[in-house]
């Protein structure tokens, strides 16, 4: 039933490796972009707050497929942005990361904002009373505690991100979902097996993430 895997015609590991890389780079990027966004959303500067709010609400409510395809069509094909990529697969890979970061950053931002809400206001007050600047209060006192209580929602975001990488197939990044499309076409007699293989592959990526971060959430929790 699974003999199509032995034919040597499909690079399953390679495809999942691309998925893992997409996930990894997008996760790092979204964490940074999400932190920047939440900084804007809680900043005392009205312009920054307005930008953060508008960005999050627009991008979060746009389908990921639209964001990713827009990256290819608008950025690459119209504005010729290739982010240093060579060849359509490489360009697709890089633009997919850009789209995923732009999209996932909004969810990271909101997860962190809920984390910030768990930090008692007295913590920031005490920090301000010591003479720390807004940025220091945020980076030294509020965000470290917010991150710790946001590990569980961040794990959700990371798992969703892993699975969202499949949308990158739409702009020809050579990740798992694009290989799956190929297999469905050529192995129509083993459809169930093909789907099972990919479902299993994603679980191999996401289950340990969930377990690890669940454990980390308990370890890192701030005792009050």
């Amino acid at each position: 039933m699974f003999d199509f895997l032995d034919s040597g015609q499909y690079d399953l590991l390679g495809a999942f490796w691309v998925t893992a890389k997409l996930t990894f780079f997008s996760a790092i990027g979204s964490l940074i972009w999400g932190t920047a966004l939440v900084t804007m959303r809680v900043s005392p500067v009205p312009m920054m707050r307005a930008f953060g709010t508008v960005y999050v609400n627009v991008v979060r409510n746009t389908p990921l497929t639209v964001v990713i395809v827009a990256c290819l069509m608008c950025l690459n094909q119209t504005l010729l942005v290739s982010l240093g990529g060579k060849g359509s697969e490489d360009i697709g890979f890089r633009l997919a990361i850009l789209g995923l970061v732009a999209y996932t950053g909004t969810f990271v931002c909101e997860a962190l904002r809920s984390g910030i809400n768990t930090v008692p206001p007295g913590q920031a007050e005490a920090a301000r009373a010591l003479g720390l600047s807004f940025f220091q209060v945020l980076t030294l006192v509020v965000l470290p505690q917010a991150f710790r209580s946001a590990v569980t929602p961040l794990a959700n975001v990371l798992i969703a991100l892993t699975k969202n990488t499949t949308v990158a197939a739409a702009i020809s990044a050579a990740e798992a979902a694009s290989l799956m499309k190929k297999m469905i076409e050529f192995e129509a007699d083993a459809l169930f097996a093909v789907f099972a293989v990919f479902a299993f592959g994603f679980m191999v990526l996401t289950l340990p993430t969930g377990l690890l971060l669940g454990w980390a959430a308990k370890r890192l929790a701030v005792k009050r």
Binding site: A126, L132, L140, K223
Partner: protein, 261 residues
């Protein structure tokens, strides 16, 4: 006192170089509630001022306006001759000279006791890490929690946490210390250990503004008692005078409720 220059302020009030904190005609509203009404208060260097009064009289708000944790609607507040700046670097610098101790301790929950006392020194005063640690340990010894240095705040009792909070404020070498009901969240048996530290500070000549319900502390440590009610300073006097011979009816009423039962 000799060598003190005395000049006339714009409102005709006498100002001396010994005045550390001066509030003049301070007003503040929370929505429709007028929490501070034309408050004038001058605190001189080395003075211990205890602010008492019924709940909702504005005493905590008064305390919090002094380092601008609460902004004011009108009036002026000057600290060591400088008016309180608006938000920004200047305000941060000023706050570093004003120590604050909160009712709910507010120790940084993700940092150890030692790190709590070192943070301001390193990030605001730019002290070397080693020097900051030495100073932090010395201060923790002074308030009697030296052995708890490597624990996290949640592992300490309330009284210990509050003493750490005092050490954290002292680490900045503040010109004045503000205490906002420092013992109100404590179990009765822990109140004294905190009050003793504050008594010692007062004896060492620290300028202190203390909002409290501890009348014993007011009697023994205060140079002056300020009685507030309904957003106004109703009466101020030395502790002996205030407790034995209050002038206003409001103060008489308040004292009769808390002292006799």
């Amino acid at each position: 006192m000799s060598g003190v220059s005395v000049s006339k302020g714009p409102e005709g009030a006498t100002r001396s170089a010994d005045d550390l904190v001066v509030l003049s005609e301070v007003n503040k509203h929370f929505g429709a509630l007028h929490v501070l009404q034309d408050v004038d208060l001058t605190i001189t260097r080395g003075e211990v001022v205890v602010v008492i009064g019924p709940s909702g009289s504005g005493k905590s708000t008064l305390c919090r306006t002094i380092n601008r944790l609460e902004s004011i609607d009108s009036g002026t507040i000057t600290i060591d001759g400088k008016p309180l700046p608006a938000e920004g670097k200047e305000l941060a610098r000023l706050r570093s000279d004003v120590g604050m101790v909160f009712q709910s301790f507010n120790l940084f929950a993700h940092k150890t006791v030692l790190e709590n006392v070192m943070l301001g020194q390193i990030k605001v005063r730019k002290t070397e890490k080693k020097a900051a640690e030495a100073k932090a340990r010395a201060l923790l010894d002074r308030v009697g929690v030296g052995t708890q240095a490597d624990k996290y705040p949640a592992q300490l009792s309330g009284g210990q946490q509050q003493r750490v909070a005092i050490a954290r404020a002292l680490a900045m070498d503040p010109k004045v210390m503000l205490f906002d009901e420092p013992t109100s969240a404590l179990d009765p048996e822990m109140i004294n250990e905190v009050l003793e530290v504050m008594q010692q500070l007062a004896r060492d000549g620290m300028t202190m503004v203390v909002v409290t319900h501890e009348m014993g502390f007011a009697r023994s440590a205060a140079n002056r008692v300020v009685f507030m009610a309904d957003g106004r300073i109703v009466e101020q006097a030395s502790p002996e005078e205030f407790f034995s011979n209050p002038r206003s009816d409001r103060a008489k009423d308040f004292l009769s409720k808390i002292l006799h039962h």
